[in-house]
Symmetry: C2
Subunit: 114 residues, 2 copies
DNA sequence: ATCTATACCTCGTATTTAGAGGTATTATGC
DNA sequence: GCATAATACCTCTAAATACGAGGTATAGAT
């Protein structure tokens, strides 16, 4: 149901975070803006979404964290581990599978077979 | 649910159902299989997903229903109304916005701007 | 001195997929 | 004739998770 529009967002923040952290080290607050920027404002996620995912992925061993004091503030930098990259691969495969199927159907041919 | 991987499925069943019912009249049990077939086995949704959505969309005026007895069994056929088609349009726009953004990022250019 | 931006965090709510379970009729296999 | 599968409808509970609000604290700008 979805009041006015559904989300199509389940799993997307996790996918984007893993993707970005495969390129380079980043901290939570930075990721919030990086996602906004990298998607051309199309996708925006709040800190309430980012931090829990970061913590969960770290606990799963998909991310490694290191604290780094910068100008009196403390930043926690995250990077994707080998496990994280592997997981990203799984997520991308899954993403392709779903989006290809939906896009096909939406595009036109609703007529069974391939 | 997705104990290891997330789903990327939020809103997808609703989108697919509206899409299929824009083409032709169908009943719940039929939709369950139609989705499986039309997506080439890529996406499967159970009756526990389809029926609640059907009822919700009907209540919202997006679908019209008519009961039709067939061989002693009763089928409830649904079709997309004008409101339903309008809603489908909104969903597709949203779908494009999200998937374009994600696919872009996944594909490669993580480098800010357009 | 005040307000905004940076930087971390948690909690509660709402949404919604998935699966199990329930009823009832028809078709199929033995 | 009898059991099992397929058809066809339905509901409920559990689990996951995005979102927003709220909370702390420091640095920079007005």
């Amino acid at each position: 149901m979805a009041r006015t529009n559904p989300d199509f967002m389940t799993g997307v923040p996790e996918l984007l975070i893993l993707r970005l952290l495969t390129e380079r080290e980043m901290y939570g607050y930075e990721l919030v803006q990086a996602i906004e920027t990298a998607t051309g404002e199309a996708i925006k996620v709040g800190e309430g979404v980012v931090y829990p995912i970061l913590h969960a992925l770290e606990k799963q061993g998909c991310l490694s964290a290191r604290r780094k004091p910068v100008n009196g503030r403390t930043r926690v930098y995250y990077t994707a581990t080998a496990a994280g990259k592997k997981r990203l691969g799984v997520l991308i495969t899954e993403w392709q599978r779903i989006t290809d199927a939906v896009s096909n159907l939406v595009a036109g041919s609703v007529h069974g077979h391939a």
